[in-house]
Symmetry: C2
Subunit: 386 residues, 2 copies
Amino acid sequence: MTEELAAEKRNHKMYGRASVMFDDPPYILSAASVVGKKESEGPLGTCFDCIESDSMLGRKTWEQAESELQTRAARLAVRKSGLSGGDIRYYFGGDLLAQLIATSFGSMELELPVFGVYGACSTMGEAMGLGAMTVEGGFADNVVVTASSHFASAEKQFRFPLEYGNQRPYSATWTVTGCGSVVIGKRREPEREYGGRRDEEEILRAAAGADEKRAGEKTRMSVPFAKIAGITTGKIVDMAVRDSMNMGAAMAMAALDTVLRNFHDLGVRETYYDRIVTGDLGQIGKRLLTDYMAEAGYDIAERHLDCGILIYDAEKQDTHAGGSGCGCSAAVLCGYILPKIKSGEWRRVLFVPTGALLSTVSFNEGQSVPGIAHAVILEHAEEKNG
Amino acid sequence: MTEELAAEKRNHKMYGRASVMFDDPPYILSAASVVGKKESEGPLGTCFDCIESDSMLGRKTWEQAESELQTRAARLAVRKSGLSGGDIRYYFGGDLLAQLIATSFGSMELELPVFGVYGACSTMGEAMGLGAMTVEGGFADNVVVTASSHFASAEKQFRFPLEYGNQRPYSATWTVTGCGSVVIGKRREPEREYGGRRDEEEILRAAAGADEKRAGEKTRMSVPFAKIAGITTGKIVDMAVRDSMNMGAAMAMAALDTVLRNFHDLGVRETYYDRIVTGDLGQIGKRLLTDYMAEAGYDIAERHLDCGILIYDAEKQDTHAGGSGCGCSAAVLCGYILPKIKSGEWRRVLFVPTGALLSTVSFNEGQSVPGIAHAVILEHAEEKNG
């Protein structure tokens, strides 16, 4: 590559202070979602690929169960892409647990080089951004990107033992037991497009492996397909929130910062997107975000959705402010958002997973709870004409 | 960019299953190291930029002290590069603490978009790989990459309260209090090279900020400079090691896997490198690595170094198997390795930070301790002639 070309290319990609728009956008070739029983009983219950009615997933500990969610989702995403494991170059993954153990133990079976990432509940956005840059930069043809959470491993990590039966304030969220995984890659030639050469049912049976029968009953094939047009990487926003039971407020300001930066970097406004979908702001965070956006001159009320609100029926399921966790936005992306983009119902979506940056140590030592939000610009992929 | 060019470019970059060789290698424009008192008393004591004799760094908790290490190292790296904060596009950082709190709170002051990464003690290698791809792919002109650890925050996180006075077996390592930070960017035109337009002392004074006087005494300017020729991303290697006090063994097999993969992907052998420098294998892990490499037909004994062995005098400093922690390889890279590459004493180095993937939860639940190692190929940068 000549130096001029490199320079030209560089200038094309960098937008503003934090955004990248891809010259040669990578594609989401496939997506898979695996969730628990409670998630299957929510409004999106029929959207997910696999429902695990056993919250231990046949393993001995909650942490191993979460690893199992990652293994199953990633394996299914790869199979649904029509690629073999050997076609995938890197695994980008993350979770909420200390030292990312769900990812370490969950990614192992795939035997891929691994990039562990941590952005709290914004992890799916961060990992997709890195994965997309890796593909578009020519460093990989295909990568798999995965993020997970598990209600019980998260409660153990961050809150109280389940046996304690702790009371939860209405501002608290409910950690989603779930995992979403996407394969990001260069677009295939038509004859090689995923699913094109293999019967969907066959892929599914293979993906389900030993658990074939149950998967046959519970699993449906969703065929999402979208283009990653660009990303806006979030910075850490500290509004001095000190209430770990009200993380929506901590994250709303980070979402505000990232969305406004995206508008500014790209020179667009809210009407550029059919939907702006945040990760897990919950009811309180949602109100804060829409109010502050309105104050900044953008009316997003009609086009804003929040994965944490979508995934549960708060009244019937007693989930208070909504769902949360890395797996919340990841599973809703794979099960609900991407299919709508593929069908063309939504042409352009700003996907903005949000994270609250705390640990029990930082919290107990009186530190604030800063937030972060990583945005991914997803577009409907037109039929390829040549 | 035409499709042919993109394809050609892609083929140029991807080597084997896990390695990338850059067409247009990014440079390490500057590096900064900040360490504690014990590290300053070791064999490399005179190599580091800043010695913090107060292990709390003026903060109230060990975790805040570690964040402060990151802030100081990153700020110093940016200042030493001769760039301003506005020239840096992204912050890649990681640490050992649950939910990366040292990084979240340590990176905040720089007000940059942040990618949090976790690879246990291999974090510096992982983050440099991602940072280098981001620059070479045209997504950023300059990024800052930082990894830290702190003896006291790590003991609290992984082992016993310091007050307990726990006995340590000889296979145990000592977590380094330290941080290394590099600025990775496109090479400047000669007149814009770092330090070229500013007096070094002036940069240093500015970097030291309020702590000016002490920094003036304790800090020296090191001017490392190297080219990142490529990377080899590690996969997770599980040898069913179950002894958290002997992590060198867990990591040695991961280092072996990554080094052999690097040789295989590039079609080279040990003589290609002047030095192969692992992160924190310690004495036991080093012996395992060299023995297994010899069995595979490669005699690396003469050219192998380990940051964990280099940083302390094990006999005099009672550090047993050696130093460890994300900050170990990061600080030794910045204080010791990069200056030798800049001077041309070493022309090509394979830098292989190593990580043991465990948490107290995974360990107490009887899970094994898998390892991971991420390699970065560093080369002496020739004088620019055009």
